[in-house]
């Protein structure tokens, strides 16, 4: 009977097409990371893949690479400052606009989120124009300010998503039982949004640590950040040390990701 045949043929071809495309997507997502990791253990002077032989020489060479180390230190310091300020400003703003359906709250929400879709390079240029017009010299502070603008949206987004799950009845019953505002915040609101803040802080840190468009315009010579240093290496000399730095960054990212998944359920917060 042809009617019995059709669904099985259909499901076979459907599964095959979807499975193949999904498999290709997975390969595409995972392969570049693996390629960088393998290349970083090369013994040679070029980025040949697969490497002719393996060694740890490029990792060892990082020990004397003081320029890269300085840049990494600036990036870490910057990420810490940016994350701390973003969490305070972002969480406070989320509490304010989270449970309001008024026009001003939605307007502010759109404003605070807009750095995510606006070309970051244009904002970097705007900041450069702003600080030079104001007569402020570029420094660690101006760099941090620029980074905060593009990092706050991540904290806001995850915190808002968690606030949406908070049952207002819980707040009212806490209030009616005589709990103060601060007590209610600590015992009811905070436990609900804690994971959202944590995940948002993590992503804000990563986005600052990885930011180039804003740093290009805001960083002065004394505050060179790691991604820009790496970008210059890749543009000029294709130094194999870049592969070793990449290897370190991938290892640290994977480790941080697994920890954040355990602590704050990172993957649930990202959706």
């Amino acid at each position: 009977m042809p009617d019995m045949q059709r669904p099985t043929l259909g499901s076979a071809s459907f599964g095959l097409v979807m499975g193949t495309l999904a498999g290709a997507a997975l390969l595409l997502l995972a392969a570049p990371t693996l390629v960088v990791l393998v290349t970083s253990f090369t013994d040679g002077y070029s980025l040949k893949f697969p490497p002719p032989s393996y060694s740890l020489r490029w990792y060892a060479s990082l020990i004397d690479a003081w320029q890269l180390q300085d840049a990494a230190l600036v990036s870490l310091k910057l990420g810490a400052v940016v994350t701390a300020v973003s969490v305070v400003l972002g969480t406070a703003a989320a509490l304010a606009i989270g449970r309001s359906r008024r026009a001003w709250a939605r307007g502010l929400d759109a404003l605070f989120m807009s750095p995510l879709v606006l070309p970051a390079l244009a904002f970097g240029l705007a900041s450069l124009v702003f600080f030079s017009t104001a007569g402020v010299e570029l420094s660690f502070l101006t760099l941090a300010i620029g980074h905060i603008v593009v990092s706050v949206p991540y904290v806001l987004r995850t915190t808002l998503a968690n606030l949406a799950q908070l049952d207002p009845a819980l707040l009212e019953s806490s209030e009616s039982l005589g709990a103060g505002r601060l007590y209610t915040f600590r015992r009811v609101t905070l436990p609900t949004i804690r994971n959202g803040i944590g995940a948002g802080a993590f992503i804000a840190f990563m986005s600052s640590f990885d930011n180039i468009p804003v740093s290009l315009f805001m960083a002065d010579a004394r505050n060179e950040v790691l991604p820009i240093r790496m970008w210059q290496i890749l543009e000029n000399s294709l130094d194999v040390r870049a592969a070793a730095v990449s290897g370190v960054l991938i290892a640290v990212t994977v480790l941080a990701m697994v920890v954040m998944e355990r602590v704050a359920g990172l993957s649930r917060q990202l959706r």
Binding site: G19, A25, A31, V35, L47, P119, L121, F123, L125, L182
Partner: protein, 296 residues
């Protein structure tokens, strides 16, 4: 509820933590921060773009006239916007089945998949782009494979081509597409698909008539994020695209840092932002329409 605290009675604790009805004050610090360090710079950028000359002495629309009067500039803008379309379409083609696979997998498989999906999102863009230099380079995997299979006699130039750039951008932006799709697909009622199957619809028909239309909001959200990220991906564009192709972000950078022509750089930034904003608003309209479709 309204604030009923009399001014005289407000102690230090209530002052530090506003009562219900005054929660909006908590948004003030960030609002002030954005007003000074986000809105003001952007307004200044508009002002600078209205200078007629690079020395910034006279006002005029000269920069915009210069931009739109030259087909070279329009070609750069056009190819940038088109690059975003290509990357977004390919990302959707590969990302959708991956999100679909995720929702059909067991919990263990799901946690493995989500890590593979998120890892590129959190890995440095420079590192991800660097991987593509290794893959597409003269000594890279693709060339070695082609040579050993006898499909090419000499290494092909893959780096600094648009095909290579699109491939790299699809990989770099894939998580931005897959994550919203997973959210939408996980919320779909499985009964709908069962009902469609019980009524005799095959998997293709069920997919095209039930799953795909109902996941439109996720598709729109994913496309929006992917598009915005792809057109502004300065690093990937400059490293994988090389000097052969010029896109708007590099054009802005070049005019600012190399040529010090701030007014023209500001003008092309404004044109670029407005174009991206236009596309974003178009996506948002589509998103709203698709939500209405779903609820109807």
């Amino acid at each position: 509820m309204t604030a009923i605290t009399a001014p005289g009675l407000a102690g230090p604790a209530t002052a530090a933590w506003p009562r219900i009805g005054r929660e909006w004050t908590l948004a003030l610090p960030l609002a002030a921060f954005f007003a000074v360090f986000f809105v003001t710079p952007l307004l200044l950028l508009v002002a600078v773009s209205l200078y007629a000359d690079a020395e910034m002495t006279r006002f005029g629309l000269d920069q915009y006239i210069r931009f739109f009067g030259d087909t070279f500039n329009l070609a750069v803008l056009g190819s940038t916007l088109l690059l975003g379309v290509k990357v977004t379409a390919l990302t959707l083609l590969f990302g959708y089945p991956l999100a679909w696979l995720y929702t059909r997998s067991g919990p263990r498989m799901q946690s493995a998949l989500i890590l593979v999906i998120i890892l590129p999102l959190l890995t440095s863009v420079v590192v991800r782009t660097f991987a593509w230099i290794v893959i597409l380079g003269r000594d890279g995997i693709v060339n070695n494979l082609l040579l050993s299979l006898g499909l090419a006699e000499t290494p092909l130039r893959l780096l600094y081509t648009e095909g290579g750039l699109v491939a790299a951008l699809v990989q770099v932006q894939m998580p931005l597409m897959v994550l919203p799709l997973i959210t939408t697909l996980s919320r779909l009622d499985p009964n709908l698909l069962d009902a469609s199957a019980a009524l005799g619809a095959g998997p293709w028909r069920g997919f095209l008539k039930v799953t795909l239309p109902l996941s439109l909001p996720g598709i729109v959200a994913g496309c929006l994020l992917t598009y915005a990220a792809a057109v502004t991906a300065f690093i990937t564009q400059s490293l994988v695209g090389g000097g052969q192709m010029l896109f708007m972000p590099q054009y802005i950078y070049q005019q600012t840092i190399t040529l010090h022509n701030w007014p023209f750089a500001a003008a092309i930034s404004i044109v670029f932002m407005m174009s991206v904003l236009g596309v974003v608003m178009l996506f948002n309209l589509l998103g709203r329409a698709s939500k209405g479709y779903v609820h109807a």
